[in-house]
Symmetry: C2
Subunit: 323 residues, 2 copies
């Protein structure tokens, strides 16, 4: 009987999809004694998961509920196979990305502030804000209250499953998409990441949706911000450390660019962190994947992978194979 | 020489598209003497336009820059032909609609409030808010931070040019769309407005994008709110008086539904109006159409219509023919 440890807080009904022949073991957050499990489903919050890990014995396989697994290899070492929940977050994360882009272009932060102040006439501020951030001098009339996504130039940095889903959701807006991934390809054309700097100046919207690795750590720094056009919108739907926070703060405070972040570095930013006070910035607290459908989809992916593991079939979503 | 009066504030470069053989006459907001023009392009803000109208003489044709022209017949009478800017607002208004839906489903008002308070841990509030408004009792873990648009049931009330554009932009989200218009049709199926009450209970998102007429005035009142499911999202991208404001306030304050409005009744609501304080409500100050592309597109539509008028061809966008 394969022993599968899962977060005790998880609604057990989500585990109904697990294959027969496994013993399910609930692991409380405050686990304080050693326990042997063959397979570990960590809590989606890594800071909770790392507190449980020291008490686990015999783990051979980690089935993450998340797409990003960058904290796991350093925690569990090289003798454990690690699989992510490939595909389970595509829809939610792509929807967050489209929402974030539209919210910034449509000036929602300003309009929500106006709603709070109950002063409809403050809508005039939108016109000045548009001129300031885009550098597009407008005639006096009619005023510009918000922008269109339609026909914008988008640089999609990362072209895995979520990147492709973002492209699919952007299609009705007839955006001009340029794709970047680790390695270049054709059909469709994907540029290698080495061409990032050359492609940045043309982009009106830059979407980051690539894994955090040694190569992508700090990928966007002051040299990259300098190459961006005035008023470009940087959207980080990936991981905080892909962007150098100090350089981001400088570019925002200089009024050079706009940004929308679901992830930050540090995450969460402490209350006195200067990121909170930057202009032209929308922050959501890492909620991009957390929809009502999330847990069920993730555990379905995990269950399918576990079935392959038990049958000795090739794994689909291994990000590390045990050595 | 046909005399065409236009708002003096308008950048004259937008009028480059007007056909030859017309004399362009700038009409200041504070016009205080009579002036004869054959064609009138009113200011997009109707409260400005109605102050100019009493000084105009000889007007035979009104070319509105807007899609909604409901204030014009009562102002200019029946002896004037009125054309709207059909098609010029499709993209911007449809984009606003998609933005508003996503912003509410993704909880952006709460997350922007959290950003202001610089307290990332307040993200927990999203889970309780989700349970409260949808009535969907959730397991303890993982929390629900926001919802997906994908696969939602959408009731599209109004199926003109903008309604069709909204449908096109919603396509990648695989929503189940039910269409309503004044008269029913097939291919695709459009239900007559008389079936509204019967179709309301099934809808998760209700989009209003129909003209304000005697028939649609007050279309959504307490009987309609009562038929909506718990947590339904009402989106008004049309005109404020299509919704009965008192009934809307009651439904919102009872925690029954959610709403996103770009238009209100009264518009603007005075600072002490109870609408401003309603929960689960997103208000933008009638900015749906006001993008950088708006004026140029509207005046292109007006110029094309004027050319047809001058050539004696049938008009494309007449909402009232002079009697």
């Amino acid at each position: 009987m394969l022993r599968v440890g899962y977060p005790a807080k998880l609604d057990p009904s989500f585990l109904d999809v697990m294959p027969p022949g496994v013993e399910l073991i609930a692991l409380p957050d405050d686990l304080d004694h050693e326990i042997a499990v063959d397979v570990w489903i960590p809590d989606p919050l890594s800071n909770r998961a790392v507190r449980v890990w020291p008490y686990l014995r015999c783990v051979r396989l980690v089935l993450s509920m998340m797409a990003g697994t960058e904290w796991i290899p350093g925690t569990v070492g090289t003798h454990v196979t690690i699989c992510n929940a490939h595909g389970a977050h595509n829809i939610a994360t792509a929807e967050w990305t489209v929402t974030a882009i539209l919210a910034v272009l449509k000036n929602l932060p300003l309009f929500l502030d106006i709603q709070q102040s109950r002063n409809w006439r403050r809508r005039k501020e939108a016109d000045a804000a548009y001129e300031r951030i885009t550098g597009d001098r407008r005639p006096l009339h009619p005023p510009v209250m918000q922008e269109e996504l339609t026909a914008k130039k988008v640089l999609l940095v990362g072209y895995g499953a979520i990147g492709k889903e973002i492209e699919r959701m952007l299609a009705p807006f007839h955006v001009a998409i340029t794709r970047i991934a680790r390695t270049g390809r054709t059909d469709p054309v994907v540029h290698p990441v080495g061409e990032l700097d050359a492609l940045l100046p043309d982009a009106e919207i830059i979407i980051l949706i690539l894994p955090l690795t040694e190569q992508t750590h700090g990928l966007i720094g002051s040299a990259q911000f300098e190459r961006m056009r005035q008023g470009a919108l940087l959207v980080n739907a990936a991981r905080g450390p892909i962007v150098q926070t100090d350089a981001l703060i400088e570019a925002l405070n200089a009024g050079r660019i706009r940004a929308a972040l679901d992830v930050t570095d540090p995450e969460p930013p402490p209350e006195d962190h200067p990121l909170w006070r930057c202009p032209n910035l929308l922050i959501t607290p890492h909620i991009g994947a957390s929809t009502p459908e999330f847990a069920r989809r993730s555990l379905q992916v995990a269950a399918d992978e576990l079935r392959r593991y038990m049958n000795g079939e090739p794994l689909h979503n291994a990000v590390q194979l045990a050595v």
